[in-house]
């Protein structure tokens, strides 16, 4: 299955400045693995040495943060957009 992924500025050097890319996979984990194949170095930016999502990387399937779903094992419904967004400070 092909999934559309929105890429934030800090990762666009890897994706040749593309703001949106496509990857294959049914879960976030599979998508990240495919992004690594297409854009070597991608996975290291998303995941720490233990393969877990980095602390300040937020991934959304549609409008939902995958930390509220199944984490990296979250399944991606057909046609749903995946967004990668850095955590933001605030108030």
């Amino acid at each position: 299955m092909s999934v559309k992924i929105r890429i934030p500025t800090p990762l666009r050097k890897l994706t040749k400045e593309q703001a949106e890319v496509e990857a294959g996979g049914g879960t976030i984990r599979e998508v990240v693995d495919d992004l690594e194949r297409q854009f070597p170095g991608f996975k290291e930016r998303m995941c720490d040495d233990n393969g877990e999502l980095r602390r300040f990387v937020n991934v959304y399937v549609g409008e939902e943060d995958i930390r509220f779903l199944e984490g990296l094992d979250t399944k991606i419904p057909s046609g749903e957009l995946v967004s990668i967004i850095p955590a933001v400070a605030g108030g």
């Binding site: 929105r6 934030p8 500025t9 800090p10 050097k13 703001a19 930016r45 980095r54 602390r55 300040f56 990387v57 937020n58 959304y60 409008e63 943060d65 930390r67 509220f68 967004s83 967004i85 850095p86 955590a87 933001v88 400070a89 605030g90 108030g91």
Partner: protein, 417 residues
């Protein structure tokens, strides 16, 4: 003199040239301003500070802005630090002080951080101020942008309190109400910030903006006659304020303004309805699990706090605690503070005072220890929260008889419970 040498990732220590950057390009970690403390130490003294303005800018040497940049300044900071003996007596705290940040230009501590952020924006040549906000930041960005003649585009959750909406829109900025919670607004702004050359206070200005909160620590220590308090209680939303209060305490020693390192325990306060950091503290873990906020303390309703991990660390390293209070306790605390000390705070201040009461009850503060609580925002911004419990005692016709009939003169409250 270029005061900050570079920006450094708090996570992976990669460094970047100073600029309007959002996060570390490698690991998305937050970027921190790196100062030449030795140079600052040579130029700063208690006397140079005392000769400065009665605003945050008396500590300009420790803020990440070049001396030559025209400041965007409404007069934020150097707010009163007042003794609170009546509240202290109710809570059993011997030596309690309140940092009253309700009297800032837009009535919250956010004026401190925005004055720094928009001054830095000018330095970068950015002409539009922006932010994602739970209200207080929105007020501050809109007002400071107006004063500076900059444009402003401010994003808030659509269900915000009326007072915070009006007190933003009045300054003439573009105000975008987003159907969603703060985390949704923030996410949208992270994407918008990628597309426009704007100074987003809490996105690409974050490394500079958050430094403004250090002035809370500087002022407290100066106002206590250059002595550290034993405890400080700080509300936690994103966690940035708490982290920077701790950083400020440490810097005073680093640049030689204080002869000994800080011994202050930094405590955190959250609402039960949005308690991701408090929950991690209680569970004894490092990882902050995001939550979907549901609390009247909307100014603290950040379910995915970007500095939560570092706030936890700061609290643990200084021997502090993090506790939480529910909505009823928040309202009780707002009313308690108002009737004992004459300060009307918004819900965030209710969270702080409520947690202060809990910490006192648990025996956190030893006899004679000095405790400071941060009252970060003003009550008129969130009147909805207390409206049901703050009503006229009686409504009468203008007739003396009716007054004497309906009001029990002997029972007129004198601030006692």
């Amino acid at each position: 003199m270029a005061k900050i040498e570079q920006l450094k990732c708090r996570e992976c220590a990669r460094t970047y040239d100073v600029g309007p950057l959002h996060v570390c390009e490698f690991c998305f970690g937050p970027l921190e301003a790196v100062y030449d403390y030795d140079a600052i130490a040579r130029s700063i003294s208690r006397e140079t500070i005392a000769a400065g303005p009665h605003t945050i800018w008396r500590y300009a040497a420790l803020l990440p802005v070049d001396e030559s940049t025209p400041r965007v300044d409404l007069g934020a900071g150097f707010t009163p630090l007042v003794p609170a003996p009546r509240l202290g007596a109710e809570l059993g705290i011997d030596d309690l002080w309140l940092k009253n940040d309700t009297v800032n230009p837009t009535y919250s501590f956010k004026d401190r951080v925005v004055s720094v952020a928009l001054t830095k924006a000018r330095e970068f040549g950015l002409e539009v101020g922006a932010c994602a906000s739970t209200g207080n930041l929105a007020n501050a960005v809109a007002a400071h942008a107006a004063k500076a003649g900059m444009g402003a585009c401010v994003f808030i959750p659509a269900d915000l309190e009326q007072g915070k909406i009006v007190a933003t829109a009045v300054y003439g900025s573009a105000l975008v109400a987003v159907k969603g919670n703060y985390d949704d607004v923030n996410r949208l702004c992270a994407e918008i910030a990628d597309n426009y050359p704007w100074a987003f206070a809490n996105v690409n200005m974050r490394a500079f903006y958050s430094e403004g909160s250090k002035t809370l620590a500087f002022e407290i220590v100066e106002q206590l006659g250059w002595s550290y308090p034993d405890h400080v209680v700080v509300p936690i939303a994103s966690g940035a304020q708490l982290v920077k209060v701790r950083k400020g305490l440490d810097e005073l020693h680093r640049v030689g303004l204080m002869s000994s390192p800080s011994h202050t325990s930094v405590h955190g306060a959250q609402a039960v309805g949005c308690s991701p950091v408090a929950e991690a503290f209680v569970r004894g873990v490092e990882h902050v699990r995001p939550q979907k906020p549901n609390t009247i303390a909307k100014s603290l309703a950040i379910g995915n706090p970007a500095d939560g991990y570092y706030a936890l660390k700061a609290v643990r390293e200084t021997g502090g605690l993090i506790d939480m209070v529910d909505d009823d306790e928040i309202v009780d605390a707002i009313l308690l503070l108002a009737r004992t000390e004459g300060i009307f705070t918004e819900t965030a201040g209710g969270v702080t005072v409520g947690v202060l009461a809990k910490l006192a009850k648990a025996g956190t503060f030893k006899p004679g220890e000095r405790v400071v609580a941060l009252i970060t925002g003003m009550g008129l911004k969130t009147v909805e929260a207390v409206a049901e419990r703050a009503k006229p005692t009686a409504t009468i016709r203008p007739v003396l008889d009716e007054f004497e009939h309906q009001i029990d003169i002997g029972a007129i409250p004198r601030g006692k419970s």
